[in-house]
Amino acid sequence: MHIRVQPEQFDAGAELNAFAQGRSDVGAVVSFTGVVRDTDGDLREMLIEHYPGMTQSAITKIAQEAVDRWVLADCLVIHRYGSLKPGEPIMMVAAAAAHRAASFEAADFLMDYLKSRAPFWKKELTSKGADWVAAKGEDEDALNRWR
């Protein structure tokens, strides 16, 4: 299990290549990369706040549950905080398993839980001002898929 919480940019491709290398039991690797989206062309900056004392342990708990439940060979979570620009990666997860179903489900599970259970908050700065991103009801609903 590899978990990193950092303000620095990261290289999703290099992380994917470094992940789960040299394991003969891995047949399937799924990755998810979240990117700062700027649909209206008006986003100047995304600020991500987190709760340092809680972040690492909350993510570790979620990742451990994924590893146990899907018998993963390995899993990876990287999440940034601080100031991000449009087009930059916000975070990524990866799950490696023998078969594709486990790697897909585990990565999907990791994303659903990170979204609603890891202590991060996003704020968007546009020409109109600064707004905290609101949680969506559907994000909370998504957790029911895994119960």
Binding site: G53, M54, H79, L114, K115, S116, A118, F120, W121, W132
Partner: protein, 81 residues
């Protein structure tokens, strides 16, 4: 007891954290006590359905006991990922 605030809760209350002397037995009691002290707390805690609470860095609920708790954190629903 160390009380922390994140995101718009932090902005509304005006500090990221503070030390609070309290005899509050539960999270709800602490919210009532803080809200009675100053308007900025009352404003931040007006709608607890829009809030989440963590006790000693674990998600908890508003009815939970504060016995033995050293750190309480209030924040809006998380928006990571």
């Amino acid at each position: 007891m160390n009380v922390m605030y994140f995101a718009w809760v932090r902005e509304r209350i005006g500090v990221p954290q503070e030390s609070v002397e309290t005899e509050a037995a539960t999270v709800n009691d602490l919210i009532a006590e803080l809200s009675s002290r100053e308007e900025r707390y009352a404003a931040a805690f007006a709608d607890t359905s829009a809030l989440r609470v963590a006790l000693d860095q674990e998600l908890s609920d508003f009815g939970a006991s504060l016995v033995g708790v050293r750190e309480v954190a209030f924040f809006p629903p998380m928006t990571g990922g």
